[in-house]
């Protein structure tokens, strides 16, 4: 609750033209904005451009923000739209670019068997390869749900669609990714289809 009040104070100050408050706001939110843009565009440079554009737009329009609404939803909406625009404009040129070396960390666990012998960097690369098969809205829905951990209702507000559309996008995205993993990376699933394949989960 205290965090929410702090954030509201920060937004109010930034909206009145306080640049220090705005810079603090950027500091707090830049990680999720860059991460969301990165997952959608598949490219760090594009994600950086998108994030800069998002924050500069925020600086210009913050006065219009309705304090009774959730700030993060608003921020996610601007970010997702800008990232999808960037993806459509620039195409999938950076789709296969993975995170830099220092961002990866091994997931190997000797007790877990060979299926877990990949690290976050490999997982990221895998995601970009498979996510290229998703429509932009499906991709954004999957990212907001599975990576950003948003609830269905908030994703619906962010994307301006119904909750049922969100569930549908999510179902489709999971199915496409699951099929891609089973077909292209059978080592991961041990060659067997996942438990719930073909059925809604």
């Amino acid at each position: 609750m205290r965090d929410d009040e702090d954030l509201t104070d920060l937004i109010r100050a930034a909206a009145s033209g306080d640049r220090r408050a705005f810079e603090e706001l950027v500091l707090r939110k830049r990680d999720r904005v860059v991460r969301t843009a990165y997952q959608i565009t598949g490219n760090l440079e594009d994600a950086k451009d998108v994030a800069q554009g998002v924050f500069l737009r925020l600086w210009r329009v913050l006065q219009r923000f309705d304090l009774s609404k959730r700030f993060d939803t608003w921020l996610y909406r601007i970010t997702v739209n800008a990232a999808i625009d960037s993806l459509r404009e620039r195409g999938p040129k950076g789709i296969l670019q993975a995170l830099p070396d220092d961002a990866g960390e091994s997931l190997r666990d000797p007790a877990s068997g060979p299926e877990a012998s990949f690290d976050l960097r490999q997982l990221q690369d895998l995601f970009f390869r498979l996510a290229a098969r998703l429509a932009p809205r499906q991709r954004a829905t999957f990212i907001l749900k599975e990576i950003e951990g948003l609830e269905t209702a908030e994703i619906a507000r962010t994307l301006g669609v119904t909750e049922s559309t969100v569930r549908n996008h999510l179902l489709q995205a999971r199915r496409i990714l699951r099929q891609g993993l089973s077909k292209d990376y059978p080592g991961l699933t041990g060659g067997r289809p996942p438990e719930g394949d073909g059925e809604p989960t």
Partner: protein
């Protein structure tokens, strides 16, 4: 966190609860195997734990701070705060403008219609003992007609 993660629970979780679950899945090989067996696409949730390079984040902050200096918004207040009275005043001005326009239209003399009929009660009232008669002044076009009313209209 102790015990094992139910993959179905991971699929449905959100927010901090989900973060705790994926942090566990990342560290626990058998939970990861269970998640993969249930739905391997859930594994991509672990990407929430991948840090964004600090150099990129710092670049964003620096560039935004630099460009925001040239692009300062006019100082003001937030929507839903003191903008309320300002919006009310604007709405009031709009309504007043509409009303004054309407009043002007009403005051404008209308062109006389060829057979326009107007009537007004005359100030003469005659009590003949058998009832009250009123003189009605009728104007039909350019012709004035005086009528006497005593129970019924008479020309």
């Amino acid at each position: 966190m102790s015990g094992h993660v139910d993959p179905a629970l991971l699929a449905a979780a959100s927010g901090p609860e989900r973060l705790a679950l994926i942090t566990h899945v990342r560290a626990c090989g058998s939970c990861r195997s269970a998640v993969i067996a249930h739905d391997p696409s859930l594994l991509f949730g672990l990407l929430a734990l991948a840090p964004m390079p600090s150099a990129v984040l710092d670049d964003v902050s620096r560039e935004v701070a630099r460009r925001a200096g040239y692009d300062r918004p006019a100082a003001g207040t937030l929507y839903g705060q003191a903008n309320g009275p300002r919006r009310m005043a604007a709405a009031a001005v709009f309504v007043l403008t509409l009303l004054s326009g309407y009043a002007t239209l009403r005051e404008r003399p209308a062109a006389p219609a060829p057979a326009a009929v107007s009537s007004r009660r005359a100030d003469v009232e005659v009590d003949s003992g058998r009832g009250v008669s009123q003189v009605i002044d009728l104007i039909v076009g350019e012709t004035q007609i005086v009528m006497v009313y005593n129970g019924e209209l008479k020309l």
